[in-house]
Protein backbone atom coordinates (compact mmCIF):
# COMPACT_ATOMS: atom_id res chain seq x y z
CA UNK A 1 0.00 0.00 0.00
CA UNK A 2 2.98 2.33 -0.27
CA UNK A 3 4.01 4.29 -3.33
CA UNK A 4 2.38 3.07 -6.47
CA UNK A 5 5.37 2.53 -8.72
CA UNK A 6 5.34 1.80 -12.40
CA UNK A 7 4.99 -1.98 -12.70
CA UNK A 8 8.51 -2.57 -13.98
CA UNK A 9 10.21 -1.32 -10.83
CA UNK A 10 11.24 -3.97 -8.38
CA UNK A 11 11.81 -3.27 -4.72
CA UNK A 12 14.21 -6.02 -3.93
CA UNK A 13 16.55 -7.93 -6.15
CA UNK A 14 17.73 -11.22 -4.72
CA UNK A 15 20.81 -12.82 -6.14
CA UNK A 16 23.91 -11.98 -8.08
CA UNK A 17 22.29 -9.87 -10.78
CA UNK A 18 21.17 -7.45 -8.12
CA UNK A 19 24.63 -7.23 -6.63
CA UNK A 20 26.19 -6.47 -9.98
CA UNK A 21 23.67 -3.74 -10.58
CA UNK A 22 24.37 -2.14 -7.24
CA UNK A 23 28.09 -2.12 -7.77
CA UNK A 24 27.74 -0.46 -11.13
CA UNK A 25 25.84 2.43 -9.65
CA UNK A 26 28.37 3.19 -6.92
CA UNK A 27 31.52 4.68 -8.43
CA UNK A 28 33.83 3.82 -5.59
CA UNK A 29 32.60 0.25 -5.45
CA UNK A 30 33.12 0.06 -9.18
CA UNK A 31 36.71 1.18 -8.80
CA UNK A 32 37.20 -1.47 -6.12
CA UNK A 33 35.78 -4.11 -8.39
CA UNK A 34 38.02 -3.10 -11.28
CA UNK A 35 41.08 -3.11 -9.05
CA UNK A 36 40.22 -6.53 -7.72
CA UNK A 37 39.73 -7.95 -11.16
CA UNK A 38 43.16 -6.63 -12.12
CA UNK A 39 44.75 -8.06 -8.99
CA UNK A 40 43.14 -11.45 -9.52
CA UNK A 41 44.19 -11.48 -13.16
CA UNK A 42 47.71 -10.49 -12.19
CA UNK A 43 47.82 -13.31 -9.69
CA UNK A 44 46.51 -15.90 -12.12
CA UNK A 45 48.78 -14.81 -14.92
CA UNK A 46 51.84 -14.27 -12.74
CA UNK A 47 53.98 -17.01 -14.30
CA UNK A 48 53.34 -15.54 -17.75
CA UNK A 49 53.50 -11.84 -17.20
CA UNK A 50 56.31 -11.65 -14.65
CA UNK A 51 59.58 -10.46 -16.14
CA UNK A 52 61.57 -13.00 -14.14
CA UNK A 53 59.26 -15.88 -13.22
CA UNK A 54 61.94 -17.90 -11.49
CA UNK A 55 62.41 -15.12 -8.96
CA UNK A 56 58.90 -15.73 -7.75
CA UNK A 57 59.89 -19.03 -6.28
CA UNK A 58 63.39 -20.31 -5.67
CA UNK A 59 65.83 -18.35 -7.78
CA UNK A 60 68.21 -15.93 -6.17
CA UNK A 61 70.76 -13.61 -7.77
CA UNK A 62 73.11 -12.34 -5.13
CA UNK A 63 75.03 -10.34 -7.71
CA UNK A 64 72.01 -8.21 -8.46
CA UNK A 65 70.90 -7.46 -4.95
CA UNK A 66 69.29 -4.17 -4.05
CA UNK A 67 69.16 -2.60 -7.46
CA UNK A 68 67.03 0.53 -7.65
CA UNK A 69 64.03 0.58 -9.98
CA UNK A 70 65.21 0.70 -13.58
CA UNK A 71 64.13 -0.29 -17.02
CA UNK A 72 65.21 -3.90 -16.49
CA UNK A 73 63.73 -4.16 -13.01
CA UNK A 74 60.74 -1.82 -12.86
CA UNK A 75 60.39 -2.06 -9.13
CA UNK A 76 63.97 -2.88 -8.29
CA UNK A 77 65.38 -6.02 -6.68
CA UNK A 78 65.44 -7.26 -3.12
CA UNK A 79 68.29 -8.35 -0.86
CA UNK A 80 68.94 -11.55 -2.77
CA UNK A 81 68.54 -10.00 -6.18
CA UNK A 82 65.01 -11.12 -6.93
CA UNK A 83 62.84 -8.88 -9.07
CA UNK A 84 60.41 -7.10 -6.81
CA UNK A 85 57.70 -6.87 -9.43
CA UNK A 86 57.79 -10.62 -9.95
CA UNK A 87 57.68 -11.27 -6.21
CA UNK A 88 54.78 -8.89 -5.98
CA UNK A 89 52.80 -10.76 -8.64
CA UNK A 90 53.53 -14.14 -7.10
CA UNK A 91 52.79 -12.67 -3.73
CA UNK A 92 49.33 -11.75 -4.99
CA UNK A 93 48.70 -15.46 -5.49
CA UNK A 94 49.68 -16.27 -1.97
CA UNK A 95 47.67 -13.48 -0.44
CA UNK A 96 44.57 -14.22 -2.44
CA UNK A 97 44.81 -17.93 -1.73
CA UNK A 98 45.12 -17.16 1.97
CA UNK A 99 42.17 -14.76 1.86
CA UNK A 100 39.93 -17.18 0.01
CA UNK A 101 40.94 -20.17 2.12
CA UNK A 102 40.51 -18.34 5.42
CA UNK A 103 37.17 -16.85 4.47
CA UNK A 104 35.87 -20.11 3.06
CA UNK A 105 36.84 -21.99 6.20
CA UNK A 106 35.56 -19.30 8.55
CA UNK A 107 32.33 -18.90 6.61
CA UNK A 108 31.58 -22.60 6.43
CA UNK A 109 32.17 -23.12 10.13
CA UNK A 110 30.62 -19.85 11.23
CA UNK A 111 27.53 -19.90 9.03
CA UNK A 112 26.75 -23.53 9.83
CA UNK A 113 26.99 -22.99 13.55
CA UNK A 114 25.24 -19.63 13.35
CA UNK A 115 22.29 -20.89 11.36
CA UNK A 116 21.75 -23.77 13.74
CA UNK A 117 22.09 -21.57 16.81
CA UNK A 118 19.86 -18.84 15.41
CA UNK A 119 17.10 -21.02 14.09
CA UNK A 120 16.92 -23.60 16.83
CA UNK A 121 17.58 -21.30 19.72
CA UNK A 122 17.06 -22.90 23.09
CA UNK A 123 19.79 -24.90 24.78
CA UNK A 124 21.65 -25.80 21.61
CA UNK A 125 21.63 -22.22 20.45
CA UNK A 126 22.87 -20.95 23.78
CA UNK A 127 25.64 -23.51 23.87
CA UNK A 128 26.90 -22.59 20.44
CA UNK A 129 26.76 -18.88 21.15
CA UNK A 130 28.69 -19.27 24.40
CA UNK A 131 31.43 -21.17 22.59
CA UNK A 132 31.42 -18.38 20.03
CA UNK A 133 31.74 -15.84 22.80
CA UNK A 134 34.72 -17.67 24.25
CA UNK A 135 36.54 -17.48 20.96
CA UNK A 136 35.64 -13.84 20.59
CA UNK A 137 37.02 -13.09 24.02
CA UNK A 138 40.55 -13.80 22.87
CA UNK A 139 42.39 -11.00 21.11
CA UNK A 140 42.43 -12.34 17.58
CA UNK A 141 46.05 -11.78 16.78
CA UNK A 142 47.26 -13.37 19.99
CA UNK A 143 45.20 -16.46 19.35
CA UNK A 144 46.52 -16.66 15.82
CA UNK A 145 50.07 -16.22 17.05
CA UNK A 146 49.67 -18.85 19.71
CA UNK A 147 48.41 -21.35 17.21
CA UNK A 148 51.03 -20.46 14.67
CA UNK A 149 53.76 -20.95 17.22
CA UNK A 150 52.46 -24.38 18.11
CA UNK A 151 52.21 -25.46 14.51
CA UNK A 152 55.07 -25.25 12.09
CA UNK A 153 55.07 -21.78 10.49
CA UNK A 154 53.78 -21.91 6.93
CA UNK A 155 51.04 -20.64 4.69
CA UNK A 156 48.75 -23.46 5.79
CA UNK A 157 49.39 -22.60 9.41
CA UNK A 158 48.56 -19.00 8.74
CA UNK A 159 45.30 -20.02 7.13
CA UNK A 160 44.23 -22.20 10.04
CA UNK A 161 45.37 -19.71 12.64
CA UNK A 162 43.42 -16.85 11.10
CA UNK A 163 40.31 -18.89 10.29
CA UNK A 164 40.09 -19.97 13.91
CA UNK A 165 39.73 -16.37 15.01
CA UNK A 166 37.49 -15.32 12.17
CA UNK A 167 34.61 -17.83 12.24
CA UNK A 168 32.95 -16.47 15.41
CA UNK A 169 32.02 -13.24 13.65
CA UNK A 170 30.18 -15.14 10.95
CA UNK A 171 28.50 -17.30 13.53
CA UNK A 172 27.19 -14.26 15.35
CA UNK A 173 26.10 -12.49 12.21
CA UNK A 174 24.31 -15.52 10.85
CA UNK A 175 22.72 -16.37 14.19
CA UNK A 176 21.17 -12.95 14.46
CA UNK A 177 19.73 -13.08 10.95
CA UNK A 178 18.56 -16.67 11.35
CA UNK A 179 16.76 -15.92 14.58
CA UNK A 180 14.81 -13.13 12.93
CA UNK A 181 13.85 -15.47 10.10
CA UNK A 182 12.50 -18.01 12.53
CA UNK A 183 9.18 -16.22 12.84
CA UNK A 184 8.53 -15.44 9.21
CA UNK A 185 5.38 -16.67 7.55
CA UNK A 186 7.10 -18.99 5.12
CA UNK A 187 8.82 -20.80 7.97
CA UNK A 188 5.49 -21.29 9.71
CA UNK A 189 4.03 -22.57 6.47
CA UNK A 190 6.86 -25.08 6.16
CA UNK A 191 6.38 -26.20 9.73
CA UNK A 192 2.69 -26.70 9.03
CA UNK A 193 3.74 -29.07 6.28
CA UNK A 194 5.98 -30.93 8.71
CA UNK A 195 9.02 -30.19 6.58
CA UNK A 196 11.92 -31.67 8.60
CA UNK A 197 14.01 -29.09 10.45
CA UNK A 198 17.12 -29.96 8.52
CA UNK A 199 15.37 -29.20 5.27
CA UNK A 200 13.85 -25.99 6.57
CA UNK A 201 17.31 -24.78 7.49
CA UNK A 202 18.82 -25.81 4.22
CA UNK A 203 16.09 -24.54 1.91
CA UNK A 204 14.79 -21.49 3.73
CA UNK A 205 16.95 -20.25 6.57
CA UNK A 206 20.34 -20.58 4.93
CA UNK A 207 19.63 -18.82 1.62
CA UNK A 208 17.92 -15.98 3.41
CA UNK A 209 20.75 -15.54 5.88
CA UNK A 210 23.49 -15.25 3.33
CA UNK A 211 23.27 -11.67 2.09
CA UNK A 212 24.83 -10.03 5.15
CA UNK A 213 27.43 -12.76 5.17
CA UNK A 214 28.38 -12.04 1.58
CA UNK A 215 28.75 -8.38 2.32
CA UNK A 216 30.85 -9.15 5.37
CA UNK A 217 33.06 -11.50 3.38
CA UNK A 218 34.06 -8.79 0.95
CA UNK A 219 34.72 -6.39 3.79
CA UNK A 220 36.81 -8.96 5.64
CA UNK A 221 39.01 -9.98 2.75
CA UNK A 222 41.14 -6.91 3.18
CA UNK A 223 41.43 -7.56 6.90
CA UNK A 224 42.49 -11.15 6.36
CA UNK A 225 45.25 -10.11 4.00
CA UNK A 226 46.48 -7.62 6.56
CA UNK A 227 46.41 -10.24 9.29
CA UNK A 228 48.28 -12.73 7.14
CA UNK A 229 50.83 -10.04 6.43
CA UNK A 230 51.17 -9.45 10.16
CA UNK A 231 51.74 -13.11 10.80
CA UNK A 232 54.38 -13.30 8.12
CA UNK A 233 55.88 -10.12 9.46
CA UNK A 234 56.25 -11.85 12.80
CA UNK A 235 57.78 -14.87 11.17
CA UNK A 236 54.86 -17.15 11.81
CA UNK A 237 53.20 -17.34 8.47
CA UNK A 238 54.62 -17.77 5.03
CA UNK A 239 58.25 -18.68 5.02
CA UNK A 240 61.09 -18.17 2.55
CA UNK A 241 61.23 -18.64 -0.37
CA UNK A 242 57.44 -18.20 -0.76
CA UNK A 243 56.48 -14.77 -2.04
CA UNK A 244 54.14 -13.11 0.36
CA UNK A 245 53.59 -9.43 0.79
CA UNK A 246 53.81 -9.39 4.53
CA UNK A 247 57.01 -11.33 4.45
CA UNK A 248 58.45 -8.90 1.95
CA UNK A 249 57.54 -5.99 4.18
CA UNK A 250 59.15 -7.67 7.16
CA UNK A 251 62.33 -8.36 5.29
CA UNK A 252 62.53 -4.97 3.73
CA UNK A 253 61.62 -2.69 6.58
CA UNK A 254 65.12 -2.27 7.93
CA UNK A 255 66.21 -1.11 4.52
CA UNK A 256 63.58 1.58 4.24
CA UNK A 257 65.92 4.54 4.38
CA UNK A 258 68.44 3.17 1.93
CA UNK A 259 66.56 0.86 -0.40
CA UNK A 260 63.01 2.09 -0.06
CA UNK A 261 61.56 0.05 -2.92
CA UNK A 262 61.90 -3.29 -1.15
CA UNK A 263 59.33 -2.46 1.50
CA UNK A 264 57.29 0.23 -0.19
CA UNK A 265 55.86 -1.74 -3.10
CA UNK A 266 54.63 -4.73 -1.11
CA UNK A 267 53.24 -2.28 1.42
CA UNK A 268 51.35 -0.49 -1.33
CA UNK A 269 50.12 -3.81 -2.70
CA UNK A 270 48.62 -4.70 0.69
CA UNK A 271 47.08 -1.27 0.99
CA UNK A 272 45.52 -1.25 -2.45
CA UNK A 273 44.13 -4.76 -2.18
CA UNK A 274 42.64 -4.17 1.25
CA UNK A 275 41.20 -0.89 -0.01
CA UNK A 276 39.65 -2.53 -3.06
CA UNK A 277 37.97 -5.22 -0.99
CA UNK A 278 36.74 -2.75 1.54
CA UNK A 279 35.30 -0.35 -0.94
CA UNK A 280 33.55 -3.15 -2.79
CA UNK A 281 32.12 -4.45 0.43
CA UNK A 282 30.88 -1.03 1.47
CA UNK A 283 29.22 -0.64 -1.89
CA UNK A 284 27.47 -3.96 -1.48
CA UNK A 285 26.36 -3.12 2.02
CA UNK A 286 25.04 0.29 1.13
CA UNK A 287 23.36 -0.96 -2.01
CA UNK A 288 21.61 -3.85 -0.32
CA UNK A 289 20.57 -2.34 3.00
CA UNK A 290 17.89 0.18 2.02
CA UNK A 291 16.28 -2.34 -0.22
CA UNK A 292 16.40 -5.12 2.25
CA UNK A 293 13.47 -4.44 4.45
CA UNK A 294 10.00 -4.84 3.13
CA UNK A 295 8.28 -3.71 6.32
Amino acid sequence: MSLELAPATTRRIPGMAGLARIVRSDVLAGIGLVLLVLIVLAAILAPWISPYPADGTVATHPMESLLAPSSSHWLGTDQVGRDVLTRLLYGARTSLVIAVAVLALAAVIGVTLGVIAGYLGGLVGDLIMRVTDIFLAFPALLLSLALAMVLHPSVTTAIIAIAVTWWPWYARLTASVASSIRHRGYIDAARCLDVPTRRVIRRHVLPNSLTPVLVQLSLDAGGVILTAASLSYLGLGAQEPTSEWGLMVEQGQSLFTTDWWVVTFPGLAILITAFAFNVLGEGLRAGLDPRRESR
Binding site: M1, S2, L3, E4, L5, A6, P7, T9, R295
Partner: protein, 265 residues
Protein backbone atom coordinates in the same frame (compact mmCIF):
# COMPACT_ATOMS: atom_id res chain seq x y z
CA UNK B 1 -22.50 29.17 2.92
CA UNK B 2 -21.09 28.19 -0.47
CA UNK B 3 -20.57 31.79 -1.54
CA UNK B 4 -18.47 32.46 1.57
CA UNK B 5 -16.44 29.39 0.81
CA UNK B 6 -15.85 30.49 -2.76
CA UNK B 7 -14.23 33.70 -1.64
CA UNK B 8 -11.65 31.91 0.50
CA UNK B 9 -8.19 31.33 -0.88
CA UNK B 10 -7.52 27.62 -1.43
CA UNK B 11 -4.71 26.21 0.73
CA UNK B 12 -3.91 23.73 -2.02
CA UNK B 13 -4.44 24.61 -5.63
CA UNK B 14 -3.54 22.19 -8.39
CA UNK B 15 -3.92 22.66 -12.11
CA UNK B 16 -2.97 20.24 -14.86
CA UNK B 17 -0.70 18.14 -12.70
CA UNK B 18 1.00 15.36 -14.65
CA UNK B 19 3.60 13.05 -13.10
CA UNK B 20 5.73 10.69 -15.11
CA UNK B 21 8.51 8.24 -14.36
CA UNK B 22 10.89 7.37 -17.17
CA UNK B 23 8.52 8.30 -19.92
CA UNK B 24 5.53 6.59 -18.33
CA UNK B 25 2.67 8.74 -17.12
CA UNK B 26 1.81 7.72 -13.60
CA UNK B 27 -0.68 10.32 -12.41
CA UNK B 28 -2.71 13.13 -13.86
CA UNK B 29 -4.79 15.51 -11.79
CA UNK B 30 -6.35 18.30 -13.85
CA UNK B 31 -7.82 20.33 -11.04
CA UNK B 32 -7.95 20.39 -7.27
CA UNK B 33 -8.88 23.19 -4.88
CA UNK B 34 -8.66 22.48 -1.19
CA UNK B 35 -10.24 25.23 0.84
CA UNK B 36 -9.56 25.89 4.52
CA UNK B 37 -11.60 23.50 6.65
CA UNK B 38 -12.48 21.33 3.70
CA UNK B 39 -11.76 17.64 3.31
CA UNK B 40 -11.02 16.20 -0.10
CA UNK B 41 -10.34 12.51 -0.59
CA UNK B 42 -8.44 10.86 -3.44
CA UNK B 43 -9.79 7.36 -3.76
CA UNK B 44 -8.72 4.41 -5.86
CA UNK B 45 -6.97 1.04 -5.82
CA UNK B 46 -3.20 0.53 -5.98
CA UNK B 47 -1.63 2.08 -9.01
CA UNK B 48 -4.31 4.69 -9.32
CA UNK B 49 -1.85 7.55 -8.87
CA UNK B 50 -3.44 8.92 -5.72
CA UNK B 51 -0.37 8.69 -3.51
CA UNK B 52 1.83 10.07 -6.26
CA UNK B 53 -0.45 13.06 -6.58
CA UNK B 54 -0.34 13.67 -2.85
CA UNK B 55 3.43 13.52 -2.76
CA UNK B 56 3.63 15.88 -5.73
CA UNK B 57 1.53 18.40 -3.85
CA UNK B 58 4.01 18.24 -1.00
CA UNK B 59 6.98 18.47 -3.31
CA UNK B 60 8.17 15.07 -2.10
CA UNK B 61 8.61 13.27 -5.38
CA UNK B 62 12.19 12.30 -6.18
CA UNK B 63 14.24 13.79 -8.92
CA UNK B 64 13.52 10.85 -11.19
CA UNK B 65 9.91 12.01 -11.46
CA UNK B 66 8.94 14.51 -14.10
CA UNK B 67 6.26 16.81 -12.75
CA UNK B 68 4.44 19.39 -14.84
CA UNK B 69 1.54 21.67 -14.15
CA UNK B 70 0.94 24.14 -11.39
CA UNK B 71 0.86 23.28 -7.71
CA UNK B 72 0.34 25.92 -5.11
CA UNK B 73 0.50 24.62 -1.54
CA UNK B 74 0.05 27.02 1.36
CA UNK B 75 1.04 29.90 -0.83
CA UNK B 76 4.20 28.28 -2.17
CA UNK B 77 4.65 27.32 -5.78
CA UNK B 78 5.85 23.77 -5.19
CA UNK B 79 7.40 23.17 -8.59
CA UNK B 80 9.62 26.22 -8.54
CA UNK B 81 10.25 26.56 -4.82
CA UNK B 82 13.68 26.12 -3.30
CA UNK B 83 14.42 23.54 -0.63
CA UNK B 84 14.11 26.23 2.00
CA UNK B 85 10.80 27.37 0.60
CA UNK B 86 9.37 23.89 0.80
CA UNK B 87 10.76 23.29 4.26
CA UNK B 88 8.99 26.39 5.45
CA UNK B 89 5.61 24.90 4.67
CA UNK B 90 6.23 21.23 5.37
CA UNK B 91 5.33 20.35 8.90
CA UNK B 92 4.37 23.79 10.06
CA UNK B 93 1.72 24.57 7.45
CA UNK B 94 1.02 21.25 5.80
CA UNK B 95 1.72 18.03 7.71
CA UNK B 96 2.02 14.55 6.25
CA UNK B 97 0.64 11.51 7.99
CA UNK B 98 1.53 8.14 6.56
CA UNK B 99 0.07 4.70 6.63
CA UNK B 100 2.38 3.02 9.04
CA UNK B 101 2.74 5.36 11.99
CA UNK B 102 5.30 3.37 13.89
CA UNK B 103 7.55 3.31 10.87
CA UNK B 104 7.42 7.05 10.33
CA UNK B 105 8.91 7.59 13.74
CA UNK B 106 12.51 7.11 14.76
CA UNK B 107 12.40 3.92 16.82
CA UNK B 108 15.14 5.10 19.16
CA UNK B 109 13.49 8.37 20.13
CA UNK B 110 10.82 8.79 22.74
CA UNK B 111 7.77 10.70 21.62
CA UNK B 112 8.46 13.60 23.92
CA UNK B 113 11.94 14.11 22.53
CA UNK B 114 10.59 13.70 19.02
CA UNK B 115 8.00 16.39 19.45
CA UNK B 116 10.38 18.81 21.10
CA UNK B 117 12.99 18.26 18.45
CA UNK B 118 10.54 18.77 15.61
CA UNK B 119 9.14 21.89 17.15
CA UNK B 120 12.66 23.20 17.65
CA UNK B 121 13.37 22.63 13.96
CA UNK B 122 10.51 24.96 13.23
CA UNK B 123 11.71 27.55 15.69
CA UNK B 124 9.50 26.71 18.66
CA UNK B 125 11.33 26.07 21.91
CA UNK B 126 11.12 26.11 25.66
CA UNK B 127 7.89 26.96 27.42
CA UNK B 128 6.09 27.72 24.19
CA UNK B 129 6.94 24.24 22.90
CA UNK B 130 5.84 22.54 26.12
CA UNK B 131 2.56 24.40 26.08
CA UNK B 132 1.88 23.47 22.49
CA UNK B 133 2.71 19.84 23.13
CA UNK B 134 0.41 19.68 26.13
CA UNK B 135 -2.42 21.31 24.24
CA UNK B 136 -2.04 19.11 21.19
CA UNK B 137 -2.07 15.97 23.32
CA UNK B 138 -5.30 17.00 24.96
CA UNK B 139 -6.69 17.79 21.52
CA UNK B 140 -6.11 14.24 20.39
CA UNK B 141 -7.02 12.81 23.76
CA UNK B 142 -3.75 11.13 24.57
CA UNK B 143 -2.34 11.05 28.09
CA UNK B 144 0.75 13.13 28.82
CA UNK B 145 2.70 10.05 29.86
CA UNK B 146 2.79 8.86 26.27
CA UNK B 147 5.63 11.32 25.78
CA UNK B 148 7.88 8.94 27.64
CA UNK B 149 7.12 6.01 25.37
CA UNK B 150 8.96 4.69 22.36
CA UNK B 151 7.11 4.12 19.07
CA UNK B 152 7.06 0.36 19.45
CA UNK B 153 5.47 0.62 22.85
CA UNK B 154 2.22 2.13 21.67
CA UNK B 155 -0.55 0.79 19.50
CA UNK B 156 -0.97 1.78 15.87
CA UNK B 157 -3.94 3.94 16.66
CA UNK B 158 -2.10 5.81 19.39
CA UNK B 159 0.90 6.38 17.14
CA UNK B 160 -1.34 7.77 14.44
CA UNK B 161 -3.02 10.10 16.88
CA UNK B 162 0.37 11.24 18.00
CA UNK B 163 1.31 12.03 14.43
CA UNK B 164 -1.80 14.17 14.26
CA UNK B 165 -0.91 15.79 17.57
CA UNK B 166 2.47 16.72 16.15
CA UNK B 167 0.79 18.33 13.18
CA UNK B 168 -1.48 20.29 15.50
CA UNK B 169 1.42 21.35 17.72
CA UNK B 170 3.27 22.66 14.70
CA UNK B 171 0.24 24.72 13.80
CA UNK B 172 -0.44 23.01 10.50
CA UNK B 173 -3.46 24.22 8.60
CA UNK B 174 -3.55 21.24 6.29
CA UNK B 175 -3.15 17.58 7.04
CA UNK B 176 -2.17 15.38 4.12
CA UNK B 177 -2.90 11.78 5.06
CA UNK B 178 -1.82 8.80 2.97
CA UNK B 179 -3.92 5.77 3.89
CA UNK B 180 -3.84 6.81 7.55
CA UNK B 181 -6.10 4.01 8.69
CA UNK B 182 -5.25 1.13 6.37
CA UNK B 183 -2.89 -0.48 8.81
CA UNK B 184 -5.26 -0.16 11.74
CA UNK B 185 -8.03 -2.34 13.07
CA UNK B 186 -11.53 -1.29 12.08
CA UNK B 187 -12.39 -0.27 15.62
CA UNK B 188 -9.43 2.08 15.73
CA UNK B 189 -10.02 3.43 12.24
CA UNK B 190 -13.24 5.01 13.35
CA UNK B 191 -11.45 6.77 16.23
CA UNK B 192 -8.82 8.29 13.99
CA UNK B 193 -11.38 9.45 11.47
CA UNK B 194 -13.52 10.93 14.23
CA UNK B 195 -10.46 12.78 15.49
CA UNK B 196 -9.81 14.33 12.10
CA UNK B 197 -13.44 15.39 11.91
CA UNK B 198 -13.28 17.05 15.29
CA UNK B 199 -10.11 18.92 14.46
CA UNK B 200 -11.68 20.19 11.29
CA UNK B 201 -14.64 21.50 13.20
CA UNK B 202 -12.62 22.98 16.09
CA UNK B 203 -9.60 24.34 14.29
CA UNK B 204 -10.65 24.72 10.71
CA UNK B 205 -8.10 22.17 9.57
CA UNK B 206 -8.16 21.21 5.92
CA UNK B 207 -7.60 17.54 5.14
CA UNK B 208 -6.32 15.96 1.98
CA UNK B 209 -6.97 12.27 2.33
CA UNK B 210 -5.75 9.39 0.20
CA UNK B 211 -7.48 6.05 0.67
CA UNK B 212 -8.69 2.92 -1.04
CA UNK B 213 -11.61 2.70 1.32
CA UNK B 214 -14.63 4.50 -0.11
CA UNK B 215 -16.79 3.77 2.91
CA UNK B 216 -14.29 5.36 5.24
CA UNK B 217 -13.90 8.54 3.23
CA UNK B 218 -17.60 8.88 2.55
CA UNK B 219 -18.10 9.65 6.24
CA UNK B 220 -15.53 12.41 6.37
CA UNK B 221 -14.93 13.98 2.96
CA UNK B 222 -16.69 16.97 1.49
CA UNK B 223 -15.54 15.96 -1.92
CA UNK B 224 -14.30 12.68 -3.38
CA UNK B 225 -12.02 12.36 -6.41
CA UNK B 226 -11.86 8.85 -7.85
CA UNK B 227 -8.67 7.88 -9.67
CA UNK B 228 -7.96 4.85 -11.78
CA UNK B 229 -4.67 3.96 -13.44
CA UNK B 230 -3.37 7.46 -13.01
CA UNK B 231 -6.34 9.48 -14.21
CA UNK B 232 -9.35 11.05 -12.56
CA UNK B 233 -12.46 9.13 -13.56
CA UNK B 234 -15.02 10.58 -11.20
CA UNK B 235 -15.53 13.42 -8.75
CA UNK B 236 -18.32 14.74 -6.56
CA UNK B 237 -19.76 14.88 -3.11
CA UNK B 238 -20.00 11.57 -1.26
CA UNK B 239 -23.71 11.44 -1.78
CA UNK B 240 -23.37 12.03 -5.50
CA UNK B 241 -20.64 9.41 -5.81
CA UNK B 242 -22.38 6.73 -3.80
CA UNK B 243 -25.92 7.13 -4.99
CA UNK B 244 -25.72 8.63 -8.46
CA UNK B 245 -22.42 7.78 -10.11
CA UNK B 246 -22.54 5.74 -13.29
CA UNK B 247 -18.77 5.44 -13.69
CA UNK B 248 -17.94 1.69 -13.75
CA UNK B 249 -14.81 2.00 -11.60
CA UNK B 250 -16.69 3.91 -8.95
CA UNK B 251 -19.39 1.31 -8.91
CA UNK B 252 -16.72 -1.36 -8.56
CA UNK B 253 -15.28 0.45 -5.56
CA UNK B 254 -18.73 0.75 -4.04
CA UNK B 255 -19.52 -2.91 -4.62
CA UNK B 256 -16.19 -3.91 -3.10
CA UNK B 257 -16.92 -2.27 0.22
CA UNK B 258 -17.52 -5.04 2.71
CA UNK B 259 -20.87 -4.45 4.34
CA UNK B 260 -22.44 -6.33 7.16
CA UNK B 261 -24.21 -9.20 5.54
CA UNK B 262 -26.78 -11.38 7.13
CA UNK B 263 -24.64 -14.24 5.78
CA UNK B 264 -27.18 -15.25 3.19
CA UNK B 265 -24.42 -16.81 1.01
Amino acid sequence: MSSIVERLEPVVRVRDLVVGYGGCQVASLPELDLLPGQCIALVGGSGSGKTTSLLAILGLLGRSASVTGSIRTCGVDVLTATGAGLRAIRGSRIALIMQSPQESFNPTTRFGALMRRTLALHGVRGKDAEARIARSLSNVQLPAEILRRYPHQVSGGQAQRLAIALAVALGAEVIAADEPTSALDVTVQAEVVALLQRLRAERGLAVLLVSHDLALVSTVADRIVVMQSGTVVDAGTPREIVTQSQVPYTRELIAAVPTLDGADE
